[in-house]
Symmetry: C2
Subunit: 376 residues, 2 copies
């Protein structure tokens, strides 16, 4: 049932247009997945997320495992039904949050022990359990449990971490029980090209998954490192499988990495920035609390077709934000998600037309102009 | 342009069916107005409020005067445009919030001095300014500035307070500048029938307004006092004008007071309770955080037609609430407002059918059964 179809490759770079087929519908790539950490894209009903153009969302296994618990979600008919989202869902493995949120964590060959950030309860996650939880949730795409190599890490540390990730990847692959959910492998290796190559060989050639993710990036390393590793690694991943760059990113990172051959992205940036009053536009980033917007009767972005831009002024959005109104978060999130979805539409359209390199150059030129005009 | 039409009076009690005509549309009474304190019904987009059946909302003059300021709203085209709500709006006078939220307030014959609860700035509100602010906002129904007599108050205190309210009412009436906004007078007098009678005579017979509100109720007095004063006063108000019981209330209070001849209600109960996880149903009040709902696959109310009940389980709503998700507030608010709107539909239908007394008895019988079954 799961299938990836490569529809087109841009002649001038690695950018690809594709389609992922899942039991919950099709997803056109390159795709950006809004993040629904606890089973909700914060502040939006799922119909709105869908209308904004989102075809697939990401939810966090760690959070749902701890609360409300994967057994409860399974018994209620699975995550799609639970959260009223009938399109595809990707679940992460929970590994990243164990490392970033869990307390007193201890990693052994067999798995990872940690304390819940909610109530301090102790948990032991093995690769097999990570798959079992995701099977209970019923996501369309599951991720293997990995050790997310931190930055900075020495070559030896990154190598040890990669070895563990490879072992766990094998165990995840073996423990998967059903055919209607698909499992992605994760390429680690820190910022070391040699280790990334080794990861590629082990994860894709030796084990083999339904798709591949680049992990351990966007974890604090300089942006050039992230871009460099992605540029080097992505084109070497199997051409007939989707390629997913985890946790990325800013619009300019997405535009760059599509050019390196990445098909899938996820990031909290549009939603988190929205809640903090930072709004994306093609011209500038609007910090809505600024006093200059107090009587501004224009929309956030006059070229944007979203509900927020069609119905509200910057002055009203500023008022809601200053008054700490919940609706501020909703309206801002609608706009930012729409910005990202529209960006992905433009990206796909450029690849379709075989002009991705031009699109990319023009995008960065405009961004540069914006930066300069903001400095002036 | 403003007009009130009495469509029907129930033969067995004081309940009335009516229609208010405003420049922004018609409102069928008895009506319940959801509260949009700062220019938003908390957590909902206005289209949703409208779809739930709300025909008129209430916004708070005090809050909008302080932030963003009535001049800004006037310059942006008025409150309807500012908040994207094209149906009728009633604004309170700001008086109640000056007394309950403002600091260091000092009342003189001329007006009231207070400090903003937001930034401590000093303000002086006169009856004329209260009208001017509401004219700037452009609401359909404005309220006169009154002194809300606190509870408890001695007869002498209540009398003095009433005298001031009457003086201010005259000044509000004289200062009103345009014809497309309508001004209601407020009947004070505390819990003293003699003073309520005097207020009636002064406010309605001597001055005369487009409609009349009962004020100074639901301010801490025993519920029997509120019901008693309303039962006594409401039927004596002019029959050809709308009657508004300010700040009321619980479903059972609304059902009782419609029977006394009240046409209009507003209260934060449905919205505030929703945010606190208390959900109204005809059978019981659902405290959504209770552990018993953790795996409950039924909707909040299987007889409810709202978006929340049609799409989500109690288990999901509990999860959102426990996880402090914004969507919890949105989905709960949708349900509670729909409960109140549906109650008003049932009330109007019973009056139309001339069976309000039966409806009321049956409503209280069911409430009693619920209370008893909850005690068991």
């Amino acid at each position: 049932m799961f299938r990836f179809e490569l529809l087109k490759k841009d002649p001038s770079c690695e950018a690809r247009l594709g389609k992922i087929f899942t039991p919950h519908g099709e997803v056109t790539t390159p795709v950006f997945m809004p993040v629904a950490t606890q089973g909700t894209v914060k502040s939006l009903i799922p119909e709105t997320v869908h209308e904004l153009g989102a075809e697939m969302i990401l939810t966090n296994t760690y959070h749902l495992y701890l609360r409300p618990g994967h057994d409860i979600i399974r018994n209620l008919g699975g995550l799609h039904k639970f959260m009223n989202w009938s399109s595809p869902i990707l679940t992460d493995s929970g590994g990243f949050q164990v490392y970033s949120l869990g307390a007193l964590r201890k990693i052994t060959d067999n798995g990872v022990v940690f304390q819940s950030h909610i109530d301090g309860s102790r948990h032991f996650i093995t690769p097999e359990l990570a798959v079992e939880i995701q099977e209970a949730l019923g996501s369309d795409i599951m991720m293997s449990l990995d050790e997310c190599t931190p930055y900075p890490a020495s070559f030896e540390e990154a190598e040890k971490s990669l070895d563990l990730t490879v072992k766990w990847a094998k165990r995840c692959r073996s423990s998967k029980k059903n055919d209607h959910q698909f499992l992605f492998g994760i390429i680690q290796g820190g910022i070391y090209p040699e280790l990334r190559m080794r990861a590629l060989e082990n994860i894709s050639t030796n084990i083999g998954f339904d798709g591949y993710a680049l992990g351990g990036l966007s974890v604090g390393e300089p942006k050039e490192e992230m871009l460099g590793i992605t540029e080097m690694t992505a084109p070497l991943l199997p051409h007939d499988k989707p390629r997913y760059l985890m946790g990325v990113g800013m619009p300019e990172d997405i535009v760059a990495c599509v050019g390196y051959g990445i098909d899938m992205f996820d990031c909290v940036i549009p939603t988190r920035c929205a809640r903090n009053g930072l709004l994306f536009t093609n011209r500038e980033k609007v910090v809505i609390k600024h006093a200059r917007y107090r009587d501004d009767d224009s929309p956030v972005d006059s070229t944007c077709d979203c509900y927020t831009c069609r119905n509200y002024t910057r002055a009203y959005l500023r008022h809601l934000y200053m008054a700490k109104e919940i609706l501020a978060m909703t309206l801002n999130t609608i706009h930012n998600i729409r910005y990202f979805m529209h960006l992905m539409e433009r990206i796909r359209s450029a690849i379709k037309d075989g002009i991705y390199q031009e699109f990319k150059n023009s995008f960065f030129e405009k961004s540069r102009d914006t930066v300069i005009s903001q400095q002036i």
